[in-house]
C-alpha cells in the first residue's frame, strides 16, 4: 500500500510541473512595466529617413491612432516581425517607423553614411514587407530616450489625443496583437 503511493509521487510532481510550464508558455516573458503608458507622447521633431529635408513632429500625427515601431536593420527580431506588421498595415493600421541606428558609433571611428543606410532599409523592406507610413531617423536617440526605449524592437500605441496606450517590448505577432493591442482598438 505504502509503496503504491510512493511510486505515484514522481508522476504527480511531473504533472504539477507541466501546469507551470504550460502557464509559462502563454505568459509574455517580456512583460515590462513602462512608465510611459497612459501619459502623453513626448514631443519630437525628427527628419524623415528617406527624405531628410522633411521633418515630422507631433502635430503631423494629431487626431490619428497609430503605432510607433522602433526598429533597425541590424536587429533580427525586427526583421521577423516585419511580415506581421505589413499584414497590419494592409488591415488599415497606421504604423510609423522610428529608426534606431546601432552601428553608428563615433568612438570607433564610424562615419554615418545616410545613403548606405537608406539602401539597406530599402532592401530589407522590399524583401520582408514594408509596414511603414514613413520612417523617422533619431540619430542622437533623443526621442528614443524620452520614450524609455531599451532596445529594439519596441512598439507604442498612440491614440488621437497623443496619449501612449501600450508600450510593448519585443516582437509584435498575432498573439501579442490579440492580447495587448486589439482590445484597446475595439477590434
Amino acid at each position: 500500500m505504502n509503496k503504491k503511493w510512493l511510486v505515484l509521487t514522481p508522476l504527480a510532481v511531473f504533472l504539477l510541473l507541466c501546469v507551470f510550464l504550460l502557464k509559462g508558455l502563454f505568459s509574455d516573458p517580456r512583460e515590462l512595466q513602462s512608465g510611459r503608458v497612459n501619459q502623453a507622447l513626448p514631443a519630437f521633431d525628427l527628419p524623415d529617413l528617406m527624405t531628410p529635408q522633411k521633418r515630422w513632429t507631433n502635430a503631423d500625427m494629431a487626431g490619428q491612432t497609430y503605432l510607433i515601431n522602433v526598429w533597425g536593420t541590424w536587429c533580427p527580431t525586427c526583421l521577423a516581425e516585419l511580415g506581421y506588421l505589413t499584414e497590419l498595415r494592409e488591415r488599415g493600421v497606421t504604423i510609423v517607423g522610428l529608426y534606431y541606428e546601432q552601428g553608428y558609433d563615433p568612438d570607433f571611428g564610424d562615419r554615418f553614411d545616410l545613403a548606405a543606410l537608406q539602401q539597406e532599409v530599402r532592401d530589407m523592406l522590399a524583401r520582408a514587407g514594408d509596414p511603414y507610413q514613413f520612417n523617422m531617423l533619431d540619430l542622437d536617440r533623443q526621442f528614443i530616450l524620452d520614450l524609455g526605449v531599451s532596445g529594439a524592437p519596441e512598439t507604442f500605441l498612440v491614440n488621437g489625443e497623443g496619449k501612449v496606450l501600450v508600450h510593448h517590448t519585443g516582437d509584435v505577432n498575432a498573439r501579442v496583437w490579440r492580447a495587448k493591442f486589439a482590445p484597446l482598438l475595439g477590434e
Binding site: 512595466q33 527580431t77 536617440r141 530616450l145 520614450l147 524609455g148 531599451s150 532596445g151 524592437p153
Partner: protein
C-alpha cells in the same frame, strides 16, 4: 521495541533530520540570493501595487537606458559613473571595471549591484541589454547568455 523497529525508527529520524536541514539550508541560501529587478522609476517611486521600495544595502538588478552625456570616467582609473533612466527619474550607477562591448550612451543596460543611497547603486556587474534581450534564442542558447560577462572581483589588485 524490537531491534527491527528500532532500526526503522532510527532511519526515519535520520531521514527527517536530513530532509529538514536540507530544506532549511536551501531556503536560507535562496533568501540571500534572490535579486529583484527594478527600473529607475520603480526604484524611486516604488514597485508594484504596494509601491515597495528597496532598502539601502539591498542587492538588486536595475535596467534602463544610459543617459547621454552622463557618463563620467575617472582619468586615471577605470572608475565610471553614469545615470540610468527609463521614463521618469534618474538613478546613478557607479562601477569600477571594464564596460561591456555594447555599452554606449543611449543604450539599454542592466546593472547588478547594491543600493548604497536611495538613488545610487554600486554595480559589480554591468551588461549591455542588447546582448541578451534581443538575441535570437538559438544564439542565446549557444552563448549561454552573454549576461555572463561577469567580472568577479577580488579585493586585491587595485
Amino acid at each position: 521495541m524490537n531491534p527491527r523497529r528500532k532500526k526503522r525508527l532510527l532511519t526515519i529520524i535520520a531521514l527527517l533530520f536530513g530532509l529538514s536541514s536540507a530544506v532549511g539550508l536551501t531556503l536560507y541560501a535562496l533568501q540571500e540570493n534572490i535579486n529583484l529587478f527594478y527600473t529607475p522609476s520603480e526604484l524611486i517611486n516604488g514597485k508594484g501595487p504596494e509601491l515597495e521600495k528597496p532598502s539601502v544595502g539591498q542587492k538588486l538588478r536595475i535596467g534602463g537606458m544610459v543617459v547621454p552625456g552622463s557618463v563620467k570616467r575617472d582619468e586615471n582609473s577605470l572608475f565610471v559613473e553614469f545615470k540610468l533612466i527609463d521614463s521618469g527619474p534618474m538613478v546613478t550607477i557607479r562601477y569600477k571595471g571594464i564596460l561591456p562591448d555594447l555599452f554606449r550612451e543611449g543604450q539599454g543596460i542592466v546593472a547588478q549591484g547594491t543600493l548604497i543611497e536611495s538613488d545610487v547603486i554600486e554595480a559589480f556587474e554591468v551588461l549591455a541589454k542588447h546582448d541578451e534581450e534581443y538575441m535570437p534564442e538559438e544564439v542565446a542558447e549557444a552563448v549561454k547568455g552573454i549576461k555572463h560577462q561577469k567580472p568577479t572581483y577580488n579585493n586585491n589588485g587595485y
